[in-house]
Symmetry: C2
Subunit: 588 residues, 2 copies
């Protein structure tokens, strides 16, 4: 008899226990209807990842645990949930309970329900788990669950074996399970309940983790991953299975659904999308079969396609979980606001997006034309609000201060007047303003606090400038494929970037060309290279020193940035430690 497991790829909402339970029940029903004997959910699926300071409330831990145990399901499901501590002076565990009827185990006490606790608690980058949890020192095993015997690991538990953690832990759950195997403990497969955040090409790392574990354990290794966005943390899904011979099956990204896994026959794996109307779904519905040679997805066009979906998914899910229906943004005719408008239209629909062109005395006619073109191509609302009158009025009152002082003051005034107009539309019409900045300019402080930085979300905030151009090409291509007008015209794509805050101003007057700037920033931020290393990599010292010193000098600005979906391997600092837009009041 074949052994079929359903991996539940869920978009949990942090704090929404009832809603998450309902989603888990629907996904389990799909898995069951398609022949699964067992379903595997994601890490902390019942409360959403990351629950952060909700975990400091003992009532929340208990409510999550009870909800997870009591899911209304007809096949056994392994569900990630916080597990209450045995003593109030101890921290809870990040664990897994078995929901559904307990056939083999007559008594229903918690001990039999709790099948695993996480051993390796990451506390680096976006993770902060030692703050909230106590680690277990023993690997999880669940026997006779729908005739299947499973090893159980939780996210990070599997990463040490692949050598992909920044520092070493004192134990290795995969090695422990393998040792048990050598001592005669026979398992059909090992599962991993994950909430593994996205960045470009992260799936390649996950494939390596699963292949390594499958090879060490000599049985299939299955990873169920969360999908969706929580502020700047994105989860791409891409749940996957690896077999000891290196074969891998990967579920689609940015989709809720079930990856149905036949342990014996990889080719029988299927993806079943979630049927509900409100299911989270962006992009292609595609399952991938990799043989033992293909190491992952490596073509850069695929990565840019994926980043495009990631950015849309981030904004769409932020709006969905925060109850935001409509968006407003400044539309300057430049590349950033054009691409931000494309993202906004894809996320909430063009009829829910308003773009405002706000020309000043330094704005060119082509800027206005280009802005109008983009708005029309996308089918979004568009209006023009010149700021020159206000600018002149302001100069009339504080002109002397401006004339005598740092000239940046006068430039910032224009950006802030635009901020006022965008925010007035946001406040009056219950729209969310989005900021249109990119990672390159934010890194250099080439942006205005309370001006163009104003807004509740920064969709392009973790994309380098040249990636913004690449996204423009994807949006154009997608429009052409649908027979629509490409939203970013030739003029916007090719004119030299300019803030248009002073006569004939060009970005390159203040910054190196973006091809160079982006590369220096990437080497420093993502590869942690210092000035000497970057010069050795072929860059001009004076440029490198200027770029790094602007980066340091403007750090405070980046901390005032609204959330930006993380798409690079290292985003700025630790801005992720924010409140979650999606943090529901779990007591409702």
């Amino acid at each position: 008899m074949s052994k079929i497991i359903g991996l539940l790829q869920i978009d949990s909402t942090v704090g929404d226990l009832a809603g998450n339970a309902e989603r888990l029940e629907s996904l389990t029903a799909i898995a069951q209807a398609n022949g699964a004997q067992v379903a595997i959910a994601t890490e902390l699926a019942v409360c959403g990842y990351p629950p952060r300071d909700l975990l400091l409330q003992p009532d929340f831990i208990t409510a999550s645990f009870e909800t997870a145990k009591n899911l209304a399901v007809e096949i056994p499901v392994l569900v990630g949930t916080p597990i209450p501590p045995d003593h109030e002076r101890n921290l809870p565990a990040n664990g897994v309970v078995r929901a559904g009827v307990l056939q083999a185990v007559p008594n229903k006490d918690n001990t039999n329900r709790v099948v695993a606790k996480k051993q390796l608690l990451p506390s680096y980058d976006v993770f902060d788990e030692t703050r909230y949890f106590t680690p277990a020192n023993r690997s999880g095993i669940c026997r006779s669950i729908g005739d299947i015997d499973l090893g159980i690991t939780i996210c990070e538990d599997a990463w040490q074996a692949a050598g992909l953690t920044p520092s070493a832990y004192g134990q290795d759950p995969v090695a422990s399970l393998a040792e048990w195997g050598r001592q005669g403990v026979s398992l059909d497969a090992t599962v991993n309940l994950s909430a593994s955040p996205y960045h470009a090409d992260k799936v390649g790392s996950r494939i390596k983790v699963c292949r390594t574990a499958a090879e060490i354990l000599q049985h299939p290794f299955l990873l169920a991953n969360q999908v969706g966005g929580n502020d700047d943390l994105l989860f791409d899904g891409c749940s996957l299975v690896a077999w000891p011979d290196g074969r891998v099956v990967v579920a689609p990204a940015w989709q809720e659904g079930v990856l149905l896994v036949d342990l014996a026959v990889p080719e029988n794996c299927q993806w079943i999308a979630m049927s509900e109307a409100d299911a989270f779904a962006i992009g292609e519905d595609e399952i991938k079969f990799l043989n033992s040679e293909a190491d992952g997805f490596e073509e850069s066009t695929e990565i840019i396609e994926d980043i495009t979906d990631a950015v849309i998914a981030g904004l769409a899910d932020y709006c969905r979980k925060s109850g935001i229906k409509r968006i407003v943004l400044g539309l300057s005719g430049g590349i950033d606001s054009a691409v931000a408008a494309c993202v906004a239209c894809a996320a909430v629909g063009p009829t829910n997006v308003l773009g405002i062109a706000m020309p000043s005395r330094f704005s060119s006619q082509h800027s206005l034309d280009d802005a109008k073109y983009t708005a029309e191509a996308l089918g979004m609302e568009f209006k023009i609000e010149p700021i020159d009158g206000m600018h002149t009025a302001l100069e009339g009152t504080i002109g002397e201060v401006l004339d005598d002082g740092n000239p940046v003051a006068s430039e910032n005034i224009q950006s802030r007047l635009r901020g006022i107009i965008v925010m007035a539309h946001a406040n009056a019409q219950n729209r969310m303003a989005i900021a249109t900045g990119n990672k390159s300019e934010l890194a250099q402080g080439y942006c205005t606090l309370y001006g163009d930085m104003a807004g509740g979300y920064t969709p392009l905030g973790d994309l380098y400038k040249m990636q913004v151009y690449a996204l423009a090409e994807i949006f154009n291509q997608r429009a052409i494929e649908l027979g629509d007008m490409p939203p970013v015209n030739e003029s916007t794509m090719t004119k030299p970037p300019s803030a248009e805050l002073a006569p004939d101003q060009k970005d390159e007057d203040s910054l190196p060309p973006y091809e160079i700037l982006d590369e220096i920033l990437r080497l420093h931020i993502e590869h942690t290279m210092d000035a000497d290393d970057i010069v050795a990599a072929g860059h001009q010292r004076s440029i490198v020193v200027d770029v790094l010193s602007r980066l340091e000098r403007n750090e405070h600005k980046r901390w005032q940035m609204s959330p930006a979906p993380r798409v690079t391997s290292k985003a700025f600092g630790q801005g992720w430690r924010r409140p979650l837009a999606s943090r529901h009041d779990w007591r409702d």
Copy 2:
């Protein structure tokens, strides 16, 4: 022969290794000149606390360690520093090295220099140490250091014994040292190198910690604490010693200097302030002797005096470490901006502060008069910039949007126009703008993003409204004592608070009276009471529900707040995880 130890109460600057080393050397020289055989610095004194992501740079760990070991001092000094790991896949330790000549130990290798590593790594509230450090499992001892034998603990190491940690650790360094004592290891005293942040009445907890440890260990327990401000983290100093019989000596707060401790004769303890011109010093130069009955400082006037100094110290040190010489703020004639002006003048001097009154059509004459009065009383710069013209101009262009929409849009416009004017002065004149909001209004979202929230620092951001009034009284009293005009006049103290953004608007139209609001907020934020608990404590349910729901709904705003010095036992969320203004480039 008497045994004299100098506790070095230092204001380290994060990342400024050379500057901190110089300060440590000066303080040690003071201790030596006054008869100390040994000096004890604070936790991570050489790199400043908290160094945060600097700790992810291996070069920084090494540079700190080398700097600490090689201090130019003539008596032995125990200095807090990160200790490099033995293997690159391991994390560093938060440790203590012995600087100065190694008399008793002929070889100079690192093993002999490292005298302790921290055992208990806090990861709650503002602490995040498991992220950066690996814990030790053995207590520190340093023998024959200037004829003295010392037990060594680092900050949190001593808090478990007093039962003052939120969750239990698996070990207790104080109990271990006591056990060693029972087994014949004889020590003269145990020291604790701390970086223990301030909040109101925190010193009471530290006294309890030291008394508990001294009683358990049956010898004196000495705690050296960091002083000064790092963004929203403040350190008050108040280094102290407790004897087993309950006697305690406490150094002054908000001062750099040396607490000279005679282990045998508590009455001989002395405070010697740092002599350098740039030493950090706010408030009174007073050492306190407590007998075994007095439990700490409990009078509320002393607490408000201390909070006043804390708020001044926070802004002053933020400016000093960030190179900010001048400040600008909006001066409305209300209580918040009047008190913020008092703080700014105390922090950087009145001639370096500019207050701008920006009346709108809804502003009253008394507001303008009161603002002018405060500016004159403080001796700061003052100007008037009416916003009505701009307001009218803006209504002319987007009036329709405003008329049809949420009325808050029109109110926010006024606040944001003021933000533009304040920021224009900041940018033009290289001043830092400060935001004048308090914790009560920020908790309720009764403030405008990019408007009155604009600015690099929020001096009153962790003070409830009624505490702002209490601070006004302290500033008035201090002025009167100096023979100056009290800066906050009767009218500002007694008129009903109003945002003056709509005709006859009063805060109480939208919020409960501040006495009630403050109390509900305090019960919820500081005592983690939910709605039911607060109602049971005697508050009206409908008010409680409104307050808590506004608190939740406006969480995103608080995360855009600039740093505010922490003065309550629980500040908002975890806003402390910001870049440090003081984070020097340590490679300079």
